[in-house]
């Protein structure tokens, strides 16, 4: 952790809201990305970002500086996402989602950027039948590119569980894509 971030967190722990604004601005996109891919709904994702930062603000005094700050925020966000998924209805792919996936898969540009709607459609299409835990591990490892050690800390799972959840998730997605005519 760099010294500036450490100072800002220290100021947040003393109740400095302006310092906390910096924390929100720096990390909100990261949390929004996780929330959008987990919940597959833009408005829900924004609500989740808000809930996450309120929770971060409330418990920032108990933050242990030995841990990475972004990992700590990810942990809070992941738990809130899982809670929301439990409360919400099952995520089901819509007919137009397949079109978005086909467009994405057929594009040869490896650095293709996606709009939020396209992200929602593609994730909803490929990760429809994953469990909450598999969805979380898949999103963190595969879509967010977090290293396994970080994912272990965020999810509270051990290395073996992360590996097995990711394996099952990838196999399920593979079957799904085969059903859709890919491969």
């Amino acid at each position: 952790m760099i010294q500036i971030e450490r100072d800002i967190i220290s100021r947040c722990q003393q109740g400095d809201k302006e310092a906390f604004r910096w924390v929100v601005q720096t990390h909100q996109r990261m949390i929004f990305s996780l929330a959008l891919k987990m919940l597959c709904d833009e408005e829900e994702a924004k609500d989740m970002v808000q809930d996450t930062f309120i929770r971060v603000w409330q418990s920032i005094r108990s933050y242990d500086p030995k841990k990475t700050f972004s990992t700590w925020i990810y942990t809070i966000a992941s738990r809130l996402c899982i809670d929301r998924l439990k409360r919400a209805n099952r995520i089901i792919a819509l007919p137009e989602d397949e079109l978005a996936l086909r467009r994405f898969a057929s594009d040869n540009d490896s650095q293709q950027t996606l709009e939020n709607k396209e992200w929602v459609s593609i994730v909803r299409m490929i990760a429809e039948s994953l469990s909450d835990k598999q969805r979380l591990v898949f999103t963190l490892c595969q879509l967010e590119g977090q290293p396994s050690s970080e994912v272990e800390q965020i999810t509270g799972l051990d290395a073996k569980q992360v590996k097995s959840n990711l394996y099952v998730a990838r196999q399920t997605i593979r079957k799904r894509l085969i059903e859709l005519g890919y491969e």
């Binding site: 909100q28 929004f32 930062f53 309120i54 920032i60 490896s110 992200w119």
Partner: protein, 134 residues
């Protein structure tokens, strides 16, 4: 690379989705911030020592009470060498009535006569039974 891997790699490279109006979201978050929770109070060394002392005292009291309970549950041991048990073992005859044993012979006689008069019916019955058996 197969198609699944290709799609997953492309998704990984696609980066993070963007918030359409990040400043508005930041302002919304900042305006809804509640009061911070007070941090957990940590025990000082003094209160920690008091806590340990209290724990020791209460443990000892609990042990004493348990021991006292078992002590109270014990039945008293019957004493073998009592005057009562000795009489049983020797089969001595039952003691004479406590009355008319002290005093001069005249006083003893008068006492005996008084008791006899106090139980006249018994005496008559015994006399009658004795006579009828004859």
């Amino acid at each position: 690379m197969n198609k699944t891997e290709d799609i997953l790699e492309k998704l990984k490279a696609a980066g993070q989705p963007a918030i359409d109006n990040p400043d508005a979201l930041t302002d919304l978050i900042m305006s809804n911030l509640p009061e911070q929770k007070a941090p957990h109070k940590e025990f000082s060394a003094k209160s920690h020592a008091i806590l340990i002392a209290l724990r020791i005292v209460s443990s000892m009291a609990a042990l004493y009470l348990v021991g006292f309970f078992f002590y109270l549950q014990q039945e008293p041991v019957a004493k073998v060498e009592t005057a009562y048990n000795n009489k049983e073992e020797t089969n001595q005859p039952a003691p004479q009535p406590a009355y008319c044993t002290e005093g001069t012979p005249r006083e003893i006689l008068m006492c005996y006569m008084e008791h006899r008069q106090a139980q006249p019916d018994t005496y008559k019955q015994l006399k009658q039974m004795n006579y009828e058996n004859k």
